[in-house]
Assembly symmetry: C3
Homo-oligomer: 368 residues x 3
């Protein structure tokens, strides 16, 4: 009963799966400078989607997210499988970062690592080649226009490779990725503390000539009930340097985290996908069990300063609990403290550019 | 074949049901003062949703409504069943009013009672405990923030109990509910005549200190093909009194209605849900039958005046027909006359605050 | 396995089908006057829907399209089948034009004929009677209000009849339709070149007294792997004449196209629907075949000039390829050249009113 539910014809030509996720968050957040304080609830994610095969080798996925009164298209693509790899056309994420490639249903904390938002990892419209086996994944995509109704001009090229294997009592994975963006406009790099219902405290504002280049490395390990992952990435904002006009500003960041299932389960590391997946829950609550409980901790850093850029540095400690009632339902509790330094936004961080933000969040998460 | 269609795994762990409803209305409405006249069509409700079990004891529901070019999230929650009752987290209605708790698919008229909109019964984000058996229901919820992206400050507490039983030839139900709201802003209390495609003729505008308290009683009876329900509720708008500054303004309203299935069916009163449900149709049109036909009448009253508040009083007579082609399709015809008195909106009701509104509506309704 | 997937109860009373379509376009377009040039990607169509039977003789359909952050309701109706024909109530297309009645999934080019948009063939809210058999279709509808939240005043009456039959080696179809619109406002008639991601070069702007009358004829033939269709229609814009005030301006247009499946398949002409349908694919790519490949060509003309109206004339040649990987996936490639003449929009077409637009487009299309 554990694999998720789907519809299929007996001949395997046709398949359809209705997917959805609903995260209800309660958040309270405040800063030590006394400039910002908020508590409340929100649907962090309310999403419906459909994926399947419209005849065997042609997959499709179409997912929409409701955000207030708006709707955003998330994954929306068709994918042809060939003997030389798969071709994906439509809107989907650029292949970057383990934390970004891992579904938000399966990440270890409420929010992803700082670099994923700060460096603008997102879905774009394009075409991508991908290949892999049980050990490796390789992806290379070209994206044109970053919105659903793009005019012209923006081009992104991105690629990622991962390699991993089983080992005694677990699995490991290493990988790397790059992304090259050229745009008519300028980019800004900014990030919230580790809850969504918060203002942003670090922000470069729009800088550079509209081009940037990201490259990063990743690693993950699962050993029994213990797991850990880490990433580090550098982004060169082209011609963004203020102290040395015409040369690049180098922004960077990363994280290292650990987790441990006190109830004995394992986090699932998929070396054939290059991503984390949902754990198996040994004693789900519906069987009278305790569910699966993991304790988690992460150190996350983001440095948006240097070369005359004062976007700010944000160093965050997060501790948390993931309580899986069953494979598809969990309650996430996170507490985080972010130290901010060198941030130019005076109204948020004062003239000294320093601040400290405490955030607490609880999420009720279900997906199907 | 009568229970609605769903997907489930054989072990009962997983269940998924795709739900939707579509109401196409044709409305014509005009007032006797000659200030307002409108006729036209609209999708009163166009909704798609999904509900199910993501493993046995964890239910979910996610429903969106399309309104023009916008989308609104309606029910969106997860629910855990425990031996001590159920816990629901997400967005759902505060537990108030029989007419509000009854799905719009199963209400007896085009629109619900005046008090339900006027007093702002609506979905909020929160957490609720509920319990019950075949005779009683009990619900108590705490809600924080009334929108999907709430800032902070608003808190609502609400509860409802109902009790009912079978009797010779039918069923009965009595109940009561309360709701306590505290808000940073102010509330306004207002209502349309009994069609949606109309302006509002009674309206307090924003009054009071942002807190209010509602309490109400309800009763319903089904006896053979005859049915009737009634509600009465009072809302104390805190510190809203104009004639006696600092004390509350008391608004109130209610209704009594009757219905009769000339084709012999019965309206379904669910004492285990505390709500009306869809009738069984003895001779559906698809079997060459006449379907089920009910004649209905309601007297509805809403008083938004008193203590120096001149929101207006609206007393409405509605007569109608419900023609069920089958369990999931019906055509609703309503004619209503609303008498308005003591309403301050001069442009709508003239200097005398009196008006009279005639409304006629036809609805083509299907749900699945 | 070829008929699309659906859910149904064994007794045939209930049926539900989840439908969707996703078209990802890459477009490049430019004009010879040098006033407009654009290239980029967009989701031309991203749609999810559900259709079924909510008990046997009552069909429903509800389809939404995501367009940027907005959602539009497309088909949304319920339909009762009686012995005297079907009654459809809700929002759906007025019954006009073979190209418009053919689903965009099955049209032969990226976009429909110029007259369909220029003359405003669209979904409206109303009620329609329809009947037919394997040879003929007849439809007559009355529509009130053209939007989901219409005020009042607008009324449209439209009807269409088609007749067709088998012949040696193929099928043929002829038909005609009319549409009579009365509106409080004025209509404008305008059209893009044959890609969606383009400005409009011909445009009458708002003219006339808000009433218009369209009538048109249609024909189609399928003979082996060859197919062809043609339409011609005239629109009388009431009291729009500038040269002869008080009388009508006559706008007109049409097309003729051909197509040929080099891989031997046939385009499906449904005489019982009065529309084209998807082809059967003999050797789908998932079986190691080549899929189905059709070469296509169309001449399309639209004349928005005359009687003192200078909306412009646009004559377009389109050539294209339709490559069906399987019945539900295709890649469409179109190149078109449009000659514009007598168009008053000086910023687009210069003082001489002449221009020429080249457009190239590729579409990745999947539906389920």
């Amino acid at each position: 009963a554990e694999p998720a539910f789907g519809l299929a014809t007996d001949d395997g030509l046709f398949e359809m799966n209705i997917r959805g996720r609903l995260y209800t968050d309660y958040i309270t957040v405040s800063d030590s400078d006394g400039n910002f304080s908020q508590s409340g609830t929100e649907f962090r994610t309310a999403r419906l989607g459909i994926e399947g095969k419209a005849w065997k080798d042609t997959k499709y996925k179409f997912e929409i997210e409701v955000d207030g009164n708006d709707v955003n298209v998330k994954d929306a693509y068709m994918q042809f499988k060939t003997s030389m790899g798969s071709i994906t056309a439509g809107q989907f994420k650029t292949p970057n970062s383990l934390d970004e490639q891992t579904s938000s249903r399966h990440i270890s904390f409420l929010e992803r690592a700082s670099i994923t938002d700060a460096f603008g990892f997102a879905r774009q419209t394009g075409i991508m080649w991908s290949n892999g086996d049980s050990n490796y994944t390789a992806k290379l995509g070209v994206f044109k226009g970053s919105t659903t109704d793009s005019g012209s001009g923006d081009t992104t090229i991105a690629g990622r490779v991962t390699y991993g294997d089983k080992m005694d009592g677990g699995k490991w994975l290493v990988g790397g990725s790059f992304r090259d963006r050229s745009s008519d406009g300028q980019f800004r790099y900014r990030q919230r503390p580790h809850v969504h219902l918060s203002d942003r405290f670090v922000n470069t504002d729009r800088i550079g000539n509209g081009d940037d280049f990201f490259y990063g490395v990743e690693g993950a390990i699962q050993y029994g009930s213990f797991y850990s992952s880490a990433e580090y990435g550098i982004l060169n904002a082209k011609e963004a340097s203020v102290s040395n006009p015409g040369s690049d500003a180098k922004l960077h960041g990363g994280y290292i985290d650990i987790g441990y299932f006190v109830t004995g389960e394992s986090r699932t590391l998929k070396t054939d996908k290059g991503a984390w997946d949902r754990p198996k829950v040994s004693n789900p609550v519906y069987n009278g069990g305790m569910g699966a409980l993991a304790v988690t901790a992460r150190y996350d850093t983001l440095d948006l300063t240097g070369d005359g850029i004062y976007g700010g540095e944000m160093d965050t400690w997060i501790i948390g609990l993931n309580w899986y009632l069953n494979r598809h339902s969990r309650i996430v509790v996170n507490y985080s403290n972010s130290s901010i330094d060198g941030a130019f936004d005076v109204s948020a961080n004062g003239a000294d550019g320093k601040n400290s933000v405490d955030a607490f969040g609880v999420r009720f998460q279900v997906d199907w």
